[in-house]
Amino acid sequence: MIAQLRVAQIRRIAWLKAWSMLMALFMAGPVIAREQITIQKSGTNPQLRGADATLNQANPTLNLSGQPTITAGTLAAGNEHAIVQFDLSLLPNVGVKQATLTLHVITRPTAARTYGAYPIATFFNQPDVTWNTRVATTPWATAGGDIPGGATATAVVNAIGTTTAQFNVTTDVQNWYNATPNYGWLFKDQTQDNSGPFTVFGSPEATLSTNVPQLQINFVQNVSNFSATPGNNTITLNWVNPTPITGSTILEPYAGVMILRYATLPVHKSDVPTDGTTYAVCHKFAQSTVVFVSPSAATTSWTDNSACTANLADPGGPPKNGTTYYYKIFVFDNAHNYSDQPIANGTVFTEEISATPGASAAAQQNSVWVNATFATDLAAPSLFPGTVIMVASQTNLLFGLDPTFGLRKYPPVSLGGPIFSRSPIIDAADSSLAKNVIYVADSDSLVYAVATDTGQILWVVNPTGAATNAFQGGISLQLKSIAGGASNDIAIIGTRNGATTTGNEIVGVDGNTGATKWQTIGNVGGVAAMDIINTTPLVDYVNGAVWVASRSACAAAQPSLWKLNPNSGTVLATASLGDIDASPVLSFASDVLFVVYNGNHLVAGTCTAGNGVLTAINPVNGATLGTFNTGDGAIVDYPVVLGSSSPYTIIFSSKTKVQAVTFTLGTNTFAAAWPAPITLNVPSAPISITGSAYVFVGSNDGKIHELNATNGTDIKDEVANTGQPGFVGDPSLDLTLSRVYVSTTDQRAYGFAYPF
């Protein structure tokens, strides 16, 4: 009897244990899985970043977008191509496993035809796109749409019975998550013989929801909030497991995470797991080592106690003080599908983090977040402090990141060309558009307004109408909320057409519509010759002007500093200072304009670099007040001016140094502000604000340096790029979160908390 009771008790305890474990598991982390979702335009998914159109060879200048149908065919009068672009914003941080595109047939061809789906290779704008042009006056390289030679997939539409055309577009969608811009698909007849057949498909604007194109995607989400906290010979990792995306179907139970580690360098991009493969702890990839496989789907933290042996630069064992460790994390499901894109030699996106343990807090380092941008861009990230960071790239992508953990807010925005400079973000309260918006200019000669909340391109224009007028510098805005008047915000930018030293231009664009308000063109209408503009204009509200710095054909014989009326573009004054590559800046009171000319000069007909000369200018009359020769080559990007009244402190970087000088209005004299310039390995532009104890500057030594603002002492550094050399770009300061953001040449952007 007693024995029976004991057995029953044991069974009850065992059952309760099992039940409590199950409940704990259930409560600790929701059951997640490899998910499947169907993306389709609807009332709940407006597909703000989607697009569609028919390109009609017989009507090559006709825009046929926003119609209920799209057509692909090979008619006697000419061919027709259908284009569809999906907004993938529902899936910002995923590994794509399968993608199937379905077009619904409205009108079948007279005979069976095969249609191909091609990824479009260049940017187009739906309201403008035609057979001939992709953006207003910008033509396709190949009329009818720029596509590769081969279709990603084909589908047959029969004369009888076919109701859908389905395409396996997995590789295209995976590429879009691996750095290739998403310009959508073009569909065309595989035998363009002008024999007459065509097929009408439902477009995203189809009246019946059943006719709207569908993109079904199987995916594994990444973790979020991946962080690394260094200690004394320890590093603790934390993360948040994904929850199912609304509307998705669970296909495979979520099983856990796998973490790779490497030391001194980030985990190599080729070190990625293969779907369907199980990896044990201490498995060695080509470079990195599997240091952790979570025991359950509920695990959200791990302190690195690795017992794995050394692997190349990784010394093995638990973390050691003074060594920087890099971690890459992958979510996997029960079938061991991983949260990455399985593309050989691709640039794989997943969550990364780094930390350096140390015996004391002063010796410890860690990045707050790391985000893959797939490209080199050394421009300072744009930001709406505490809300969003926008990081540009030279691979035509614009990333919108959450500043807290560096996660993508949406898949990157695909633009027409590389972006070289920092772009302005205006919040809805200050913007005449009443939206949180970033204004971007690229080397495709296009200017964009992009909603930072969604990544939607609000408008895009070629403001000069010429395909050769690329943009190198950033945009400056005259805000209606500050300037007053009836005009909307005005976006102002200068061109970089290297083919001319005289015919570049400055253009003003309506911030709400993109309409060109004015153009000031070199050697036209009495305007002096204008060389390339590499700088960002500066709106001077106090003096009712916009200042623009240009080159001047390597001499001082033509203007390089331009003062314009921001409402009309009328030239108010010019100064011939010689080539300028650094953007002008104003003092807080707008009583001194600081400009740096390069000191370039012609030697036997060759433009030869000189030393940058910091120049103080009276912004009222354009007169030079004083100069300071840096003695160390040209100044990088822009100086920083601190102080609310004279004397001002100007901090700038040159070829090998960071310097600080003061300028006193009245005596109009410069003087050294630090005991000595700080020598760095090719520094970036600095960043600081009035009252801050710190100046932050990147360098080619792979670090971001925290300098004492008072005397320039190098207080502490953080590793941001381990390349050889490791170029670190211009930093940005987020005063709300006390963060420094920077992008580098190792195809990443980083966030660091300051003070370091």
Partner: protein, 165 residues
């Protein structure tokens, strides 16, 4: 096999021709597919190999004289020309990768090419790489830059260009 071509006296080309395999993928009416035969009735002649020749010049110099080495402080825009030969009929996509001396990508651009209904004997694309006033001279990104071109995903040629400090 196409013979290698030199660019002036300073050329240093690496040309990787590719032929029937790609033609089969992308061409509708090439000899590979139509099965046309040679005059002697034997096997069809192989289609001419696609080749690409990459050359550079500084847009700021007179006549844009081709060279493979430039002083970074003196270059205004680096003009990258890709001369294609024997492009199969149809539309194609050129991908041009500009790689930094460290090997990392600096820019990747795609350009459409339309050969029309027959093999295109020659076609040239031009890409401008801005140099003056960019981070290249400012941050001294100097050394051996590599330019790679591919057509429809098939790598065809690469060429080094040196930007000296």
């Amino acid at each position: 096999m196409k013979r290698r071509r030199k660019i002036g006296s300073r050329g240093n080309l690496k040309v990787r021709p590719f032929g029937c395999a790609l033609i089969l993928m992308v061409v509708s009416f090439s000899a590979c597919q139509t099965g046309s035969t040679s005059a002697d009735g034997g096997n069809p002649p192989p289609p001419p190999a696609v080749t690409a020749t990459i050359s550079f010049c500084d847009d700021g110099t007179v006549d844009c004289e081709p060279a493979n080495s430039f002083a970074v402080g003196a270059v205004r825009d680096l003009v990258i020309k890709v001369a294609w030969e024997n492009l199969p009929a149809g539309s194609h996509m050129q991908t041009l990768e500009i790689l930094m001396p460290s090997g990392g990508p600096y820019q990747v651009t795609q350009t459409g090419l339309d050969a029309g209904g027959a093999i295109l004997n020659s076609a040239t694309t031009t890409r401008i790489l801005p140099v003056a006033g960019t981070s290249i001279p400012q941050r001294q990104i100097v050394g051996n830059w590599m330019i790679r071109v591919s057509i429809d995903g098939q790598s065809v040629a690469s060429q080094m260009v040196v930007l000296n400090p």
